[in-house]
C-alpha cells in the first residue's frame, strides 16, 4: 500500500533530486560564512508532514542514500534523516499548527541540529572531526531555520495542490 502510494506520488518524489543538486551547486547567496543550509531537511520536513511517518522514514532513508554518495568516507546521513522523517510524519498526523511559519522554522532548526550532531558523532568516532564543527553546526542550523518558513511552505502548498488525497 505504501509502495503504491509512493508510486502515485512519483513526480513529487522526483523533486527530491533537487536536494543533491542544490547541495552540489551550493549557491553562494544562500551561504552563511561558506556554510550552506541542510537542503535535505528543507525538503524532508514538508514531505513528512504531508505524507506521514512511514513515507517520511522511507523517503528520508532514500534521500540519505543519494546524499551519502556525494561525499567521501563512510559517514552516513541515513539514521538521522530516516528518524527525522518518522518523527515529523508522526507530528504532522497530530496537528496542522506545525505548518505555520514559526513551528516550521523551529522544526527545521532541530532537524538540522540532529542531522549535524549525527555527523559529528560519526566523524568523532573516525577521528576526523573538523576543528570548526560547532561553527558549522550552528551556521547550518541558523540558515536552515531562516529558509524553512519560505521553502517548506512552498513545498507544502505545491504538494497539497497536486495531491488532493493527502491530509
Amino acid at each position: 500500500m505504501v509502495m503504491v502510494d509512493l508510486w502515485r506520488r512519483g513526480w513529487c518524489l522526483a523533486s527530491a533530486l533537487l536536494v543533491p543538486l542544490l547541495a552540489l551547486a551550493s549557491p553562494r547567496l544562500l551561504q552563511l560564512d561558506a556554510i550552506g543550509p541542510a537542503w535535505a531537511v528543507l525538503w524532508l520536513l514538508p514531505w513528512a508532514l504531508v505524507d506521514g511517518p512511514i513515507s517520511g522514514a522511507l523517503v528520508g532513508a532514500g534521500l540519505a542514500l543519494l546524499l551519502d554518495g556525494l561525499h567521501p568516507g563512510p559517514v552516513s546521513e541515513l539514521p538521522a534523516l530516516a528518524g527525522l522523517g518518522w518523527w515529523w510524519g508522526r507530528l504532522g498526523r497530530r496537528s496542522l499548527v506545525l505548518e505555520r511559519f514559526l513551528p516550521l522554522a523551529l522544526l527545521a532548526v532541530v532537524g538540522s541540529l540532529v542531522l549535524g550532531v549525527s555527523q559529528v558523532l560519526q566523524l568523532q568516532l573516525r577521528g576526523t572531526l573538523p576543528v570548526a564543527a560547532l561553527h558549522v553546526l550552528w551556521a547550518q542550523a541558523l540558515l536552515t531555520g531562516l529558509l524553512a518558513p519560505l521553502v517548506c511552505s512552498l513545498w507544502l502548498l505545491i504538494w497539497r495542490q497536486q495531491l488532493p488525497g493527502v491530509r
Binding site: 550552506g36 567521501p72 572531526l129 573538523p130 576543528v131
Partner: protein, 245 residues
C-alpha cells in the same frame, strides 16, 4: 717701478676676487671624488624623455623567462632521470585540465567536483594541482566526474617536508582553510615563511610539489611541534585544475 706696484694684490683681495674659481675647483673635486654623483643624476634627469621604451624591457623579460623555462625543463629532465635511477616516485604523469563544477558547502567535507572522470582517464588517487601548487587527491570517480578531497578536508593526510631544513612532517586537514603540519622530530627548526612541499620520498603524491607556506609554529604542542600552513593554491578562486593521471 711705480707702474708695476699697481698690479700687486694683497692676499685678502686675491681671495675675494678668486673665490668663484676656487668654488668651481672644489665642486669639480667633489664630483671627481664621488665618482660622478650629481652629474650622473643630472644626466639621468635631463635624458629621461629619451630613455629606451618599455618594449625593450619586455623583450629582456621575455628572454629571461625563456631562459628560465629552458633551465627548468633541463633541471626537471635531470631530476626525472635521477629519480628513475634511484627507483623513486616519478614527478609527473600526463596532465589533464579539468573544470571545477561544484564546491559543496556542507562544512563537514572539503571537496571539489571536477567535470572530468573515468571516461577521460581520471582514476582514484590521482593528484590534483592548480596554479600555486597541490590541491588534493581524487577520492571518487564516476564516468564523467571526479571528487577531489582537498588538503583542508579533515580526512586528508599527506607526507610533506620543509625544503630549507629538510624536515619531514604530516599535513593534516582540519576542516579550516589552514591545515596543520605535524612534525616527526621533536626539535623542529622550522620558522614562519618556510616553504612546504610534498615529500621527495612520498609514494602517494609526486615529489616536490608546492603545498604552502608555514604561517606560525606551536613549539609547545605534544608530542611534536605543529605549524599552521597557508596553502599556496587558491582553492576558492580556481575554476580549472590539472589532474595528474
Amino acid at each position: 717701478m711705480q707702474a708695476g706696484r699697481g698690479f700687486r694684490l694683497s692676499p685678502q683681495r686675491l681671495l675675494l676676487s678668486g673665490w668663484p674659481w676656487m668654488s668651481l675647483a672644489l665642486l669639480l673635486l667633489a664630483v671627481r671624488l664621488s665618482k660622478g654623483a650629481g652629474l650622473s643624476d643630472l644626466y639621468a634627469l635631463v635624458s629621461r624623455p629619451f630613455w629606451p621604451g618599455t618594449a625593450q624591457a619586455e623583450w629582456l623579460r621575455a628572454a629571461q623567462r625563456l631562459d628560465q623555462q629552458s633551465r627548468l625543463q633541463s633541471l626537471e629532465a635531470d631530476n626525472q632521470r635521477l629519480r628513475r635511477l634511484l627507483g623513486l616516485q616519478q614527478a609527473a604523469g600526463p596532465l589533464l585540465a579539468a573544470p571545477v563544477i561544484a564546491r559543496p558547502a556542507s562544512g563537514w567535507w572539503q571537496q571539489l567536483l571536477l567535470g572530468r572522470g573515468a571516461w577521460q582517464g581520471v582514476s582514484s588517487g590521482a593528484v590534483v594541482t592548480a596554479p600555486g601548487g597541490l590541491l588534493g587527491r581524487v577520492v571518487a570517480v564516476t564516468p564523467s566526474t571526479a571528487t577531489v578531497q582537498l588538503l583542508t578536508d579533515p580526512g586528508s593526510r599527506i607526507g610533506v617536508w620543509v625544503a630549507r631544513t629538510g624536515e619531514h612532517g604530516l599535513l593534516l586537514g582540519t576542516g579550516t582553510a589552514r591545515p596543520v603540519l605535524r612534525f616527526l622530530d621533536r626539535d623542529a627548526r622550522v620558522r614562519p615563511g618556510d616553504l612546504v612541499t610534498t615529500s621527495p620520498a612520498s609514494t602517494l603524491v609526486p615529489p616536490s610539489l608546492t603545498v604552502g607556506v608555514v604561517q606560525n609554529l606551536d613549539e609547545q604542542a605534544m608530542p611534536a611541534p605543529e605549524a599552521l600552513v597557508q596553502l599556496s593554491a587558491p582553492v576558492a578562486a580556481v575554476d580549472w585544475v590539472q589532474v595528474r593521471r
